[in-house]
Structures are given as structure tokens and as C-alpha cells.
Amino acid sequence: MSFFKVENLGIRFGGVVAVDKVGFEVKRGEVFTIIGPNGAGKTTIFNLIGLLYPATSGKIFFEQKELTGFAPHRVADLGIARTFQNIELFEHATVLQNLLIGRHRHRRTALWQELLFLPSVRAAELAQREAVEKVIDFLNLAKYRDSLVAGLPYGVRKVVELGRALATEPKLLLLDEPSSGLNPEETDDMAFWIEDIKRHLGVTVLMVEHDMNLVSRVSDRVLALNLGTLIAEGTPAEVQSHPAVIEAYLGKPV
């Protein structure tokens, strides 16, 4: 039974074909990375999976269910979470509140119950906070728990972004350039976390990345994209030595 499959996916914005007939499959429990030069359409694919843009062609299947025509919030309900390349956190809320919003899909209380703050709401809240603490412990965010996101340094924000996605308890995690803007130490931490996510949390990771070290270190399989089309797929070593990939990044030898 396929876990996550993309078939013939394509989108055009007016005359520009951003993604063209891309197809791949992600197996449960693996770390699958998409690489490619800037403008190759990697983030666009994420936006297509998250149903932020409607695809002009192709299909997306998650656990055999076809993802078309939903609103983006339904995608989260299905168990797909994502981070954003340019960090879309809730700036005027604390880290804790950001992570708690990640728990939104697990809420069980109705508006009228919340207005009265019935004991059932209280119990639900305490349960949510416990769940979020696990993520905070996992990512070492304890000292930032009550800080407003607006004042935090970039590296910490990226971790909070990851935490918020993890708080949704996803089955599939989409990471958009998790190491961009991080120094080597922070990138190291990120690599450890991705490995832990795969091994201990059992979450499948679909990642877009530029940092080749990180890619070779954590990925099980890699897909290379250029100008919206697939140019290579395989293990990290295979893809990195593939001539088409080298040409896309470095150009043809003279």
C-alpha cells in the first residue's frame, strides 16, 4: 500500500510552467529529499501538496486518498504538516502558544464549552500542554517557552517552526529548507533531529534542501529537480554523481 505518491503533477502560472509532470513515491518511514537549483519548483511542489495552489494537472495520493479540492486545513487533518521556507510563525504569540496551535487538529471541544470553560475544556487543555511539552523537550526549547516569537533569533525560530509542525503529530512531515540560514552547529542539531524524527517518532519526512552534506547524511532517497522537471532519482550518492544533476548545478563542461 503506497504511503505517499505524486503522479504527473504539474502547475502553470499563466505562461510559466513551474512544475511539469513530476512523479515520485515516498515510502513510509523514510527520509526523501528533493534537491535542485533555485527556481526549480521545489517549494511550489510543497505548496501543491498542501493544496495552497490548485494543480493544473496530475494527482497526489496520501495513504491512498486523493488530495484534490480540499481546503488547506483539511490537509493538516489528514496528518501532513509542513514548515515554511521563510518562517510563517505567529509573531505576537509565545513559543508555547505557537506550538499549541499546532495541536489544533486534536481539539475536541466546542465553542460553547470553551466560553464557559467547562471541566472538559480544562482537561483537554492540560492534555494538550502535556503533548506540547514532549515537543519542547525533544527540541530543547524549554528556555524559550514563554518568549514572544517576535524577539527570537532566526535559528531558534526555525526550530520553533519545526516544533509547531511536530506538535500536530503528523504522519508525513514536509520540511522546506530546514537548514537555510543556520550555522554549521545548528545544522548539525537539525540533522540529529531529523534522524530522531525518523527513528524514534516514526514520522516520514519529505524535505527540500540545498545543503548537500545534510542531504547525504539523513536522506534515504533523493530526487533532483530542474526547471520543474525531474532529472534524477535514487540514493544520495547516485543522484549527486548523476551527469544531468551536475550539469544543472555546474553547467556543461566546455
Binding site: T43, L52, Q85
Partner: protein, 289 residues
């Protein structure tokens, strides 16, 4: 029916000018100026002063009012808006609302102005002429022609002058424009001056119809529907939108039950917002994540 159309177009010209004024500001600074109508009112008062109290001829009056309002506009930008550069749009809107309140209040305090209503003399006061079945009031024709002249002038300004292009640049990305050497703050100030000048022009054209008084600016509220219908942020849109609203109002006043005339503009704008918020000429933009 043509008669109605003419009346609508003439009224629409005034709306178009007010809409033009704040589309200019919106294009440059993404600020919505709720005080545009009150700037128009103040321009009307300056013109009144020049014409009645100081006895100048019509053309000098126009120049004086426009120049005076340009200065006022620049001062408002410098004193009130520059400190809030970079704050969210909603707060800036509230500041302009505050400016509107102050202008209305201050005008009633000026000796010689106060809360009275004044008539405004123009060279075209009562003449009419007939073309076929339609009676043209010279007043209306003058409004239309003068508006057209101003719009043409502004078109060439934005297209071909350095300042005009600079204004377009700052409207899209202030920081980038600053990096390119455009003095963003000074350009913003001049945009406000220009916009206030246009408002003064509109006030002069409107004065014979509504008379000059401190609440004259409320008509400016109709300019919002005009700008939205035409497409917020589009200069031709403001003109077209204003004309449309003027015509719709004229026809609503004639054919629809009482009271519809006042809300016609708002019904139209709600319809446009629900169907195509970007209006006729406007552009939609979506955030790229």
C-alpha cells in the same frame, strides 16, 4: 436619459477626482487616506477665501487653492505620517481619520469660516446651451473638461517624468526604492502634496454644487466605492470608477425608490467586492510562501 447621463458624469467627475487623490497616495505608500474628502473641503475654503474675501479671478483662485493645499498635504505627511512609517495599514488609516476630524474641527474655528455655508462664485454659473435634445449646463461641461485636462496632465506626469516613475517604485517596495537612490520620504511627501492639490481641484469643482461648508468632505466617502470599483491602486480605475458611481447614482435617484440614491454607491461596491474585489483595472497579488 442622456440628461441623466450627463448629470451622472459631471457628479462622477468629482468622485473621480477625490478617488484619484487617494489612489495616488495608496499607490505610493499603501496608505488609505480617509481624510481626502476633508482635504477637498479645506481646498474649497481656501478657494472661497481667495475668491470672495480677496476678490481674485477664478483662475488665480484655483492656483492659490491647489498650491496652498499642496503645502498642507506635504505638512500633514511630514508631521503626522512620517512617524508611523512602517506600521500596519490599519493604524495609518486611523491616523488619517484623526486628521479628518481635526480638519473639520479647525475649519469651524477660523474666523470668517466657521460653521456657515457659503456660496462659491464661478464664471460659468448659470449658462446653459442645448445640443439636440440635451440641455448642457455650462457648469457641468466645465467640470468634465477640467477633470479631463487634469487627468491627462497626470498621465503624462507619471509616464514620462522622473518623479512619476519614482513614485511608482516607492509604491511597490519602499526599501528597494531607497536602495536605488530614491529619496523615499521626500517622494512620499510630494505625493501627499500632489494628492492634496488634486483634492483642492475637486473641491473647487464641487463647491458650486454643494456649497462650501465644513461637512462638505463627507461626499468624499463615496470616493471609496469609486476607487474600489475601478480597481484600488489604478489611476485610470479611479476615474472610471468615479464616473460609474456618479452615473449609477443619477439613475438610482431617478428610477429607484427614495433613499436608494444614497446607498446606491455602497450597494455597487459590495457587489463588486463580492464578485471581483480587484475591481476593473486592479491587480490581485498573492503572498508567496
Amino acid at each position: 436619459m442622456l440628461q441623466l447621463l450627463l448629470a451622472g458624469v459631471a457628479q462622477g467627475c468629482v468622485y473621480a477626482l477625490v478617488a484619484l487623490g487617494f489612489v495616488l497616495i495608496y499607490k505610493a505608500t499603501e496608505t488609505v487616506n480617509f481624510a481626502q474628502g476633508d482635504l477637498m473641503m479645506l481646498g474649497g475654503f481656501f478657494a472661497l477665501t481667495a475668491s470672495v474675501i480677496m476678490g481674485w479671478p477664478y483662475w488665480a483662485t484655483i492656483l492659490f487653492a491647489v498650491a496652498a493645499m499642496a503645502v498642507v498635504g506635504m505638512l500633514i505627511e511630514r508631521i503626522v505620517l512620517r512617524p508611523v512609517l512602517g506600521q500596519p495599514a490599519f493604524t495609518v488609516v486611523m491616523i488619517t481619520i484623526g486628521v479628518g476630524y481635526m480638519l473639520r474641527g479647525l475649519v469651524t474655528m477660523v474666523p470668517g469660516w466657521g460653521t456657515d455655508t457659503y456660496t462659491f462664485p464661478t464664471p460659468f454659473a448659470d449658462g446653459t446651451f442645448k445640443v439636440g435634445e440635451v440641455i448642457f449646463a455650462v457648469q457641468q461641461v466645465a467640470v468634465i473638461l477640467m477633470t479631463a485636462a487634469l487627468v491627462a496632465g497626470l498621465y503624462f506626469f507619471f509616464r514620462y517624468s522622473k518623479l512619476g516613475v519614482a513614485m511608482q517604485a516607492t509604491s511597490q517596495n519602499q526599501l528597494a526604492a531607497a536602495y536605488m537612490g530614491i529619496p523615499v520620504r521626500r517622494v512620499n511627501m510630494m505625493i501627499w502634496g500632489l494628492s492634496a492639490g488634486v483634492a483642492a481641484f475637486a473641491g473647487i469643482l464641487l463647491a458650486p454644487v454643494t456649497f462650501v461648508h465644513s461637512n462638505m468632505g463627507f461626499i468624499g466617502l463615496k470616493a471609496f466605492p469609486a476607487a474600489v470599483v475601478g480597481g484600488f491602486g489604478s489611476v485610470p480605475g479611479a476615474i472610471v470608477g468615479g464616473l460609474i458611481i456618479g452615473v449609477v447614482e443619477a439613475f438610482a435617484g431617478r428610477y429607484m425608490p427614495e433613499g436608494f440614491k444614497d446607498i446606491a454607491a455602497y450597494v455597487v461596491v459590495l457587489a463588486v467586492l463580492l464578485v471581483k474585489p480587484s475591481g476593473i483595472f486592479g491587480e490581485t497579488a498573492k503572498k508567496k510562501v
